[in-house]
Each structure stands twice: as structure tokens, then as C-alpha cells.
């Protein structure tokens, strides 16, 4: 028998190849760190790619100020533990205007505090390449995106005119002001991610594991009351329920699922037996058909 690589080892090698290629081809790359499970895998792969050296680029978190508190704690703990260079960017302009999901709605909030904020940060630091943890199995528009995804000077994606991308040869040529978004884990599925986290014992935010948490039900979604900025409707009372999150974002926009899954195998088991996709828990995808493509064109990750 010939020793062959298992599919996870193949995916791992492909991702490391992409990460090294970006580091070698650009002057100022940055890794966007969203603190979620995909980011955790991405960071782990980056550490592998350059071992024994640390990754030769900083990590950047675009903080909307509405993330779960446990996410921020986890972020700071990881930064301290691994000693990576962490940039936290907040759209101060949005903060001054008092933008938030409860007062301004999910779509304006996401626009200003996430999409705009990201562009602000990329311009401010003049990053010419940014790693993201998007996967093609997440959504139909993502299934179409290249690994090296070209962005214009105004950070726009043109889905109808993508560069051909053959084999593992990536075209890294850009003019001044233009940039590339690079997606090293494009070909991983949700199951691959969980399985890899399990095999490699990669730390993830505890919110992924089930625990008793205070939630209220709104529009069919279970929203966790993470801090006292959340206004309660008359008669609404947070209930302690055994819940966990399949995806993490701004707490007012992220639905929890009722679950008893408290270990990684439990989570994987639950995921495999469930009948709904992970993005269902995200509010922004529901707003309008094709909304992800539109958001991506405008510069969202």
C-alpha cells in the first residue's frame, strides 16, 4: 500500500500552500480574525505554515462593539498565549453616531460597523492582501469565489469578471490601491472544520458548547441577553435555556440553538443529524435573496 494523504491532510496542505503564497507575494498582508471556529482553524494553519517562526503578518479583528463578551475574552487570551500581533479596529465614526443593531437595524449596523469599518481599517493600514476564513460550502455566492479574490481600489468584488484560477498557481499581481482577499479554507466543509478542530485540539470560544444561558425568543430566533444594552420588550423575560451557537457574530444578530451538546463529538453528532444549515442563525443572509453576493460586492467578507 502506498501512503496517501487523508482528505483532511490534503486540505491542510492546500491551505498552508495558499497562506505561504500570500505571505511571499504581498508587501502588507493581514489575517482577519473573527474569533469564530473558522478563524481558529485559519490561525492554526498559519502557525503551521511558518513554524518555527511566527506568522509574518498581524491579525486584525474588526470589532463592531456588539460581539459576545466571551468572544472578546477569548480573543485577548489567544493573543496573549500565542503572542501574535493583534490589531483591533472599531469604526469610531459609527460609535459616535451611536450605531447599533437595536436602534438602527441589522443591515445598517452591519454596513457601518462591519463592512465600512473593514474598508476603513484596510485603507488605514494599507494592507494589500487580507486573509479571510470563508468557505465555499457556506453559501451559494461564496461557492463561486476564487481563492485569490481580486478587489478594486474601492474594495469591490466583480463576480461576473473573476480572474481564471488554474491549479495552485495564484495571480498575485495588483496595481497600487487594489487588493486581494485570500481564502485558504475555501474547500473545507463545516464537518471538515469540526473534525479538524477535534483532531488537532484547537481551542474555540466556549459559546460553541452547550450551557445554560439567558435567552429571549424573537422572530423565531433565540437571542442571548449578553449585556444590559439589550432592551427587553414589555412582558419579555430572559429564560435560562441549554443552548449553544453554530456560528458567532454580533450577539443581537446571532440565533442560538437549543442543545445538550457539550463536547466536540456531541457537536459534530448534532450537526450531522440536524436539518438546517449553519448560516440560518445569521440574520443578514435572510434580508433579501442574493444578499450575500451584494454584501460581498460592496466589500463585506
Amino acid at each position: 500500500m502506498q501512503p496517501n494523504l487523508t482528505h483532511l491532510r490534503q486540505l491542510e496542505a492546500e491551505s498552508i500552500h495558499i497562506i505561504r503564497e500570500v505571505a511571499a507575494s504581498f508587501e502588507r498582508p493581514v489575517m482577519l480574525y473573527s474569533i469564530g471556529k473558522d478563524s481558529s482553524v485559519l490561525l492554526h494553519l498559519a502557525r503551521k505554515a511558518f513554524y518555527p517562526a511566527p506568522p509574518p503578518f498581524p491579525l486584525m479583528h474588526v470589532d463592531t462593539t456588539w460581539k459576545f463578551r466571551e468572544m472578546i475574552e477569548f480573543r485577548d487570551r489567544m493573543a496573549a498565549e500565542y503572542g501574535f500581533d493583534l490589531i483591533v479596529h472599531i469604526n469610531q465614526d459609527g460609535v459616535e453616531r451611536g450605531i447599533g443593531p437595536f436602534t438602527h437595524g441589522s443591515s445598517l449596523h452591519t454596513d457601518v460597523m462591519k463592512t465600512e469599518s473593514l474598508k476603513q481599517a484596510l485603507n488605514k493600514y494599507k494592507f494589500d492582501a487580507a486573509f479571510g476564513g470563508a468557505r465555499r460550502d457556506e453559501e451559494k455566492a461564496r461557492a463561486k469565489e476564487r481563492v485569490f479574490s481580486f478587489r478594486t481600489e474601492t474594495h469591490r468584488w466583480d463576480p461576473k469578471n473573476q480572474r481564471p484560477e488554474l491549479w495552485d498557481i495564484y495571480n498575485a499581481r495588483i496595481n497600487k490601491g487594489e487588493s486581494i482577499r485570500a481564502f485558504p479554507i475555501s474547500n473545507w466543509t463545516e464537518l471538515d472544520i469540526w473534525q479538524y478542530i477535534y483532531l488537532e485540539q484547537i481551542p474555540i470560544v466556549p459559546l460553541y458548547y452547550s450551557a445554560k444561558r439567558p435567552v429571549v425568543e424573537r422572530d423565531g430566533m433565540l437571542i442571548m441577553v449578553d449585556d444590559d444594552r439589550m432592551p427587553l420588550n414589555p412582558g419579555e423575560k430572559p429564560e435560562m435555556k441549554s443552548v449553544r451557537f453554530r456560528t458567532l457574530g454580533c450577539y443581537p444578530l446571532t440565533g442560538a440553538v437549543e442543545s445538550e451538546a457539550a463536547t466536540l463529538p456531541d457537536i459534530i453528532q448534532e450537526m450531522l443529524l440536524t436539518r438546517s444549515s449553519e448560516r440560518q442563525g445569521r440574520m443578514i443572509d435572510h434580508d433579501q435573496a442574493g444578499s450575500m453576493e451584494k454584501k460581498k460586492q460592496e466589500g463585506y467578507f
Binding site: 505561504r20 463576480p159 461576473k160 481564471p164 488554474l166 491549479w167 495571480n171 466543509t189 456531541d266 438546517s276
Partner: protein
Amino acid sequence: MAHQSDLIAEDILGYLKSQEEKSLLRFITCGSVDDGKSTLIGRLLWDSKLIFEDQLAALESDSRKVGTQGGEIDFALLLDGLQAEREQGITIDVAYRFFSTDKRKFIVADTPGHEQYTRNMATGASTADVAVILIDARKGILTQTRRHSFITSLLGIKHVVLAVNKMDLIDYDRTKFDEIVAAYQEFAAQLNYSSITAIPLSALRGDNMIEASANTPWYSGPTLLAHLETVQVEQDAINKPFRLPVQWVNRPNLDFRGFSGTISSGRVKPGDEIVVTASGQTSKVKDIVTFDGNLEEAIAGQAITLTLEDEIDISRGDVLAPVEAKPDFADQFEARIIWMHEDHLLPGRPYIIKMGAQVTNAQISDLKYKVNVNTLEHVAGKTLELNEVGIANISTDKALAFDPYDDNRHSGRFIIIDRFTNATVGAGMVNHSLRRATNIKWQEMDINKQARAYQKGQKSVILWFTGLSGAGKSTVANLVEKKLHALGKHTYTLDGDNVRHGLNKDLGFTDADRVENIRRVGETAKLFVDAGVITLVSFISPFRSERQLARSLVGKDEFIEVFIDTPLEVCEQRDVKGLYKKARAGEIANFTGISSPYERPENAEIVVNTSDQSAEEAAEAIVAKLEEFGVLGAWYPEI
């Protein structure tokens, strides 16, 4: 069937273990427009219960809104994720989907059938092991069927499934199926496939997709999924000689120097002797370093870091190989090229080639022939247009290390990038290296360029006059030459019109001919410079890249671009030769400024405008500049 639900529910750890050992198959669907490619994959995902409930609800409402099935479920909408695709009911770009069965994991790329988007099909095909080529049973083999077959074969795909689809629309007629299969086999005999498996299908109705269909009792072969689960693809990269293209030099501190990359073929162990292909320096592998500890052996496909016993010079782009089995190393090779851009391939024009981590300037030195995708016949051609395939000789500025693509699918493959737009304009696969260059030794002469120019009391340069027709290039060049002559300088003028009567009389005015025109003039001017002469070239030379080509032929300070910047209106008013009038009347095709672009120089050494300056004044200004550049003084060789 996709999720072994019982095992998952009862023994999740056992399930995970079984997942880990599955093999991975990458395949594509391709073929002509509307043959049912997206429907086929949608149906596979559907039947293998990989559609989640929320996605199903979305699919049902989408099918009612934009579906092609009169409100019934339109499986293609699971794949066609872009707004434009849903509106037009076609696939534009490749979509990647992932699914698994008990036996295998699959990554499938659904590619567009439209000819216009062939480059996206090639993108999907480049990483696939198997191609499912669809045929609409009513229509049989179409041009796109042939084109896609040819491209998959060029890209080295060896296993093909001939999916004869829409059998429901021809009453599952066996005779028609057999006819299509026979016709395809005859065509495909000229291609390099090692297996062709034909299956009668209805993607829409599900016949022979996962379960054998009662509608085709006469068919006894495997269903599509059963075949995909079992088809054996060659995994022979590991048995080829070791190759490590160095992507990254890892140098965290003075004590560690590692060379990182993904092994493209073969295997490596500590103690193995290796050679750096370009420099010929050798050393031994010390350690194979990874985050998970040092390895005793690494194989093709692994992304690793090597340290070596000796301090030798290695950088990104170098290829490490066994001493006894080095790859080819050449600056000229023959390759097959798939062209992917609306701007035609022009032989002679400088492009960038990226091959693994090696990047260099390159030219297509000779387009040997194009291939007619319908008949696979060879046809002569001067350019390649969008979606055309050709065989060409390529010469590169730097020698590259590679193996012929047919020997090793992970080597000898490259993309072609436009130097100005940065677009990926083509893809290529090396057939073999050309050893010509190494046989013709450059003759080193004792009396050289410097000596000749010194004797004439000047520095030999090219003065390249560019500008629109009627801008005044020849007039000004003529005056400049007179002035230089009067100063005792040795000069010669190559005039665009004159050269077209002799040296270039076989060339027309297509883009390809213009490039060849410039190349010949550039090479001729270069000989004059070598002879020590100040050479004036007066040529419209509308394309930036062609002027760049001429510039690249001589030394950095031997090329002086003189831009005669006369506005189009002025030139047209003058219309000395009456050409503008004819061009406006449509009597002359490809006329610069009217029906063909003039790309203004961005960094010309000298710019003159003859609309606010007389030709005499312009010539004086140019001679003054030459004085300033030191062209007119005796130039002492550095020796």
C-alpha cells in the same frame, strides 16, 4: 445514504474514524449549454440528502420565482448562486460543491457551458481527476462538447464519464444512446483518455443517477454515483522523482534556515542528497520540519519545511530535486496554450509567466499552430483569440525548472499574465524544452559596441519617435538627423513606411503583424546600436507593450523614447496623406487613432508638441536633450 445516520447516532467516534480514512475525488461537470450540468449536481446533492431544510425552503421559493421548470423544483438553482445566473438561467462561473458518501468524499466543480465562459470551465477542470461530460440526448455532440473534451484532455484529465442526459425526452431510446456513444468514442480516440464510461441519464428525473432506472432495462452498467465512488484515478505523483518548489525561506533567527514548499512529486528523507536546479549547488537534507514535529519521510502533496546540512544560497522560485534526477532547466520550451482573454495573444509581446513560485518575463516566440476544437485539425495562425488553443514556442528572460506536464501534472504548468492589466490571460502546459539556445553560442567579439561608438565620438542609442500618423515624426526625425550629421555624428534612420517596402513587406496591420513589425525594427535598430550608430526610428508604434519590447532589447540608457505629442484633431486636419479621410470613411481598417487605439507613452524621455512649436524648434529641443543625456560626447568605455 450520505450520512450513515445510525452510526452517527450510536457511535460518533467510530463514525469520525471512518471519515478520516475516506479518499477524496475531485470531478467536474462540463459540456454544452443547457445540457443539464447544474441540474445533475443539484440532483446528486438532493438525492444524497445534503440539502438542509432551510435551503430546501429557499429552493422551493426560488424555483417558483426564477425556475425553468414551471414552478417545479429547478435543481440548477442550488448551484447557480449569482444573481445574473439566476436571472438568465445559465451558469457563468464555476461553483464548487462538497458531498460525501460512505465510500468517498467529493469536491465537484459545476462549470458553465457557454463558450464565452470557457476560461471558468478550465479553472474548474485544472484541479479535477474525472470529468463528467454531459450530452443532451436530443442534440448529440455539439461544438462545446468537443471543446470541453479537448480542454479536459489538454489539462491531463484521464477519466471521462459520458453522461447522455435528458433520456426522458427521447423515451429512453437505446439506439440513439448507442449512436451518440459511438460518435463520441470516434472523436475521443484522438484524445488522451484512459477510460470513457457512458451512462444514459435523466438528471431531472433521477434515472441512473443513484439507483438503476427501470426505464433503461437495456443498460447494465453502473449508476453515475456508483461509478464515481469506485473509479480509480492515478495517484502516481509519489512515484516520480522528488521536486520541492521553494515558496518561502523560513528564517526566524540566525540558527535556523528552512525552505518551505509543497512537495509536487516524489518523496524525501533526511540524508537525501539534493541539488538546487538553477545553481547546481548540492547538499543533504538535514531535517523535515513541521509544526507537529520532524518527519522521517515526506511525500508528494505535503506542505513542509526542509533544513539542509550546508549553507547554500536558495530563494523563492528555486526547485530542489535529487542529484540524479534533475528537472529540465531551460529558457525556451514548447507548450500548449489555452487563451483566456478578449485581447488576443500576440507573439513577440512581453508577458509574465508564473510557474509554481517561479515568475519571469516571457514572449511567445513562435505560434506553431492552432487547434480547431471541432476537428482537432492543426491550422496556421498568427494570434490566439479568446478560448482558442495553440501550440507555441516560448522564450523566457530567466530559465525555468520544470518537467513536461504529461510526465508530471504538478510541474510544467503555468499561467500567463498581462504586464499592464495584470489579468490572467492564458494558461499553458509544457510539452518539452527546446535546447536550441544552448547550442548557438553567442560570439564574443573583440571589437565591441563601446569601442565602435568611442571611435565615432558618441554614444550609440536608439531614438524612438512615436506618435499618431501625421504627428510629424518623420519630419522631426529628418531634421534631427541633419543636425546630428552636421555635428559630425554617425546616424541612421529606420522609417516606418520605408521599412514596410522591404524588410517588413510581408506584414499587414493586424495587431499580430504590428507586433512582428516592431520586433523586426527593434532587432534591426539593436544591430545599428551595436555598430556604434545613433539610430533614429520613426514609427507610429501605438502599443505601450510593443515600445516596451523594443526598449527591452537594448541597455537601460540606450533607448530614448521621443513622443511627438500632436493632438488627433491637428493630425486629422493636416491629413497630409489623406489617410484620415479614408479611415473615417471606413476604407482603412485598424487605423491608429480612429479604429485602433494609440496608447500614450507614460514615461517618454522626451516629449514635443508640434502644434505649438515648429518642427525646427522641436528638433533643436531634442538635440539639446541629447547633449544633456551625454549622447553627443565621446563616451569612454569603462575598462
